[in-house]
Every structure is written in structure tokens, then in C-alpha cells.
């Protein structure tokens, strides 16, 4: 165990871990990492689930262990907390831009097509391929797209 690790270093390492379902953004940008605690004995990473049943959470936890291990940090503890509850307000502006480029309309009041930016869109289904998304269609360019739900 290296003892001169700083919190900032850990945060940097964690920002290298992509979201397993939406690899365009990392787990920091997604807002699921709430805190990092470093002391001589161990590194504790505190995370919170997006949705109660999101299957990616176990994967995110495993990936934190694996990635920090690859940086020779062995004594890691991942703690899951429920409060305060995750909200899409924690997704950074930069990450919202990345989502849009990736083809997923980011959470916002005025939903716009990530292809042609038209706001002439319709909801096909409140639910989508992951718990955090809904399905939409652009009525101008006719492309269907995923929308990251406000939560």
C-alpha cells in the first residue's frame, strides 16, 4: 500500500472508469461517486446507485476495485449509500454534451433530437434499454433516439 496517495489522485483514477452502459461518460461525470476517503490503511470510495435496480451498479463497484488494483492500490473498500438520492442534476454540463454527441439526449426540460437538434420530438416509450433512459423519436429527421430521463 502506497501511503502518499492523495484524494485527488484517486478521483483522477476513478474518472478513468467509464459507465458500463454508456461508455461515453465516466462514473464521476455520471455523479455516482459521492466521496473518497484516504487514510494510511485504506481507500474508501462511496458510491450511490442511479436507480434502485440498476444492474450496472455491481459492475461499477467491481470496476472500481479492478481499476484501483491496476494502479497498485489493493486496500479498497466500496461503500454504497442511498442518501442523498442520486439525481440527474449531478451530471456535469460537460457530460451532458458528451451524451448528446454520443446520440443520447441529455436530461433537460426541452428535449432535443441529438441528431438534428429539433425539439419537434415525441415519446415512444417512457422506458428504454437501461433504467435511466426513455425512447423518443424526432418528427423532423425521423430518427429514433434515447433520452436520459430527468430524475
Amino acid at each position: 500500500m502506497v501511503t502518499f496517495l492523495s484524494k485527488d489522485q484517486i478521483w483522477n483514477y476513478l474518472s478513468e472508469i467509464p459507465d458500463p452502459e454508456i461508455p461515453a461518460i465516466n462514473i464521476i461525470e455520471l455523479g455516482v461517486v459521492r466521496d473518497v476517503k484516504v487514510d494510511d490503511a485504506q481507500v474508501e470510495v462511496i458510491i450511490t446507485p442511479t436507480y434502485s435496480g440498476c444492474p450496472a451498479m455491481k459492475m461499477i463497484e467491481d470496476n472500481i476495485y479492478l481499476h484501483l488494483k491496476s494502479k497498485n492500490i489493493d486496500n479498497v473498500k466500496v461503500t454504497t449509500i442511498l442518501s442523498p438520492a442520486w439525481t440527474t442534476d449531478w451530471i456535469t454540463e460537460e457530460a451532458k454534451e458528451k451524451l448528446n454527441k454520443y446520440g443520447i439526449a441529455p436530461p433537460q426540460k426541452e428535449i432535443a433530437c441529438p441528431q438534428c437538434a429539433s425539439q419537434n420530438v415525441e415519446c415512444i416509450s417512457q422506458f428504454g434499454s437501461t433504467p435511466c433512459k426513455a425512447q423518443y423519436r424526432c418528427k423532423d429527421c425521423r430518427e429514433p433516439f434515447d433520452y436520459f430521463k430527468c430524475h
Binding site: G53, L82, I124, S125, F127, P131
Partner: protein
């Protein structure tokens, strides 16, 4: 009854209800009437199973006997389950499933709204987390109740029948016993009598929009608070529990 025992049993009640109705919804996986609804029902199922896990994890911690969330879900028998009778009723057709979900979601939203104020921090945290999901579920199930009720003659009649079939399980959602008594005193549990009128109002409003008639003078079923279930739960548990019971500790 001791406080610890009461909290344990209280959590199990709500964990069981979410798990069982979540499992019911998951039975639709691959059988939904359209792809979008197949995805919707399995998404809702995931949230509900997730919510039940939060309650089971906390129950296991409170009990302090080295039982895990999996032990609580997979290794208890029918008579130990405390889910409300509504949640174990068979799926029937899509409308029947949506009606069951609508009655359940309407309860969950009001229940979590109050549980947020619980003096028990863990339960309050579960409520804050779950309510956003349950509100979204309610939006979905309400829309379908309205669409099918105010749809064709056929869809109207079928979902009216579902309502009449399921209405007798609605009173039980609000039943309280010794567990509630112990916990309400300390501001931990929700006094269910305080949300019943609100539930009725919300439900009646949606049913009116759906042009459905609220059943009157219905016989009300009861029993789940004591572990007395309808014949359906045993079959459901047999399927849900077969793997961990046949291969204890199995992992993949």
C-alpha cells in the same frame, strides 16, 4: 414486541411486496404485447426488486444474525412471507397487470412520501430513493388504465373486470398490526390510516378519467399480515426459489 424485531418485520413486509410484484412483472419478460411494454414492465420490475433489496439488506442488518438479503428472499416459506395479497395475484392479461400495478403504485407513492419523514434514517433514505421511481411507475400504469378503460368496448369491459377482480385486495394495503403500533409511537412507521383517503381520492380520479366504475360493497380479503396467502404465492415461490434451494450457495 421489541423495537428491533418490529423494524425487522416491518422491512420484510415492504421488501416482500416489492419483490413479489417485481417477480410477477418479470414473468412478462419476452411476452409483452409490444416490445416497448416488454421493456417497460421489466424496467419497473428491476426497480422494484432493487427497492426490495434495500429493505432486505436493512432487515438483515437489523436482525444481526448473519442472514443475507438472499437468505431472506430465497429461504423463507410461504407462511413467512408478508407481501400483500394484491402483489401475488397472477398477471392475467396486460390490462389486469396494469390495474394491479396501478393500485400498488398509487399506494407506494403515498407510502414513501410519508416514510421519507421516518425517524429511522435507513428507512427514510430508502423512501427518498424509491419515491422518484414509484412516481414514474404510477405515471405509466395510470396512463394504461386510462387508455384501456377509455378505449374500445372490449378493452373497457376487460379492464373493468380486472378492477372488480382486484378491488377486494385494496383494503389490506392499509391494514396495521402490532408492528405498526410499536413503530408509529416512535415516529418510525407510517400510520397507514392517514394515507387511505388520499389513496382513494387519487385512485377514484384516475378511474373516473378511465370511465371505469369503482366497485361497491366488495368483500375484502385479508390474511397476508399473518402470512396467510392466496393459493398463488406458493407456486410463485416454488419457481423463484428453486435454484438457490436446489443448489445452495450456487454462484455464476
Amino acid at each position: 414486541m421489541e423495537m428491533k424485531e418490529a423494524i425487522f418485520n416491518y422491512c420484510l413486509r415492504y421488501a416482500d411486496s416489492s419483490l413479489i410484484i417485481g417477480h410477477r412483472l418479470s414473468e412478462w419478460c419476452g411476452h409483452g404485447p409490444i416490445l416497448e411494454e416488454d421493456i417497460a414492465m421489466t424496467n419497473v420490475a428491476l426497480d422494484l426488486v432493487g427497492q426490495s433489496r434495500s429493505f432486505y439488506q436493512y432487515a438483515a442488518k437489523v436482525e444481526g444474525k448473519d442472514r443475507t438479503e438472499d437468505d431472506l428472499a430465497y429461504l423463507r416459506d410461504e407462511r413467512e412471507y408478508r407481501n400483500t395479497l394484491l402483489t401475488e395475484q397472477p398477471n392475467g392479461d396486460f390490462g389486469q397487470t396494469m390495474m394491479r400495478q396501478f393500485l400498488f403504485d398509487s399506494f407506494q407513492v403515498l407510502f414513501f412520501e410519508k416514510l421519507k419523514e421516518s425517524k429511522d434514517e435507513d428507512m427514510s433514505a430508502i423512501a427518498f430513493k424509491s419515491i422518484k421511481e414509484s412516481k414514474y411507475h404510477l405515471r405509466h400504469s395510470s396512463q394504461w388504465v386510462i387508455r384501456l378503460g377509455d378505449g374500445t368496448e372490449e378493452s373497457h369491459q376487460r379492464i373493468q373486470n380486472s378492477l372488480e377482480d382486484l378491488w377486494r385486495f385494496s383494503d389490506e394495503l392499509f391494514e396495521m398490526n402490532e408492528i405498526d403500533e410499536v413503530l408509529i409511537k416512535d415516529g418510525i412507521a407510517v400510520d397507514l390510516s392517514t394515507i387511505k383517503d388520499h389513496w382513494m381520492q387519487n385512485v377514484v380520479d384516475v378511474l373516473a378519467e378511465a370511465t371505469l366504475n369503482v366497485p361497491e360493497d366488495t368483500f375484502m380479503a385479508t390474511g397476508s399480515r399473518e402470512g396467510k396467502h392466496s393459493e398463488h404465492l406458493g407456486y410463485l415461490l416454488a419457481e423463484m426459489q428453486v435454484l438457490p434451494r436446489t443448489y445452495p450457495g450456487a454462484k455464476w
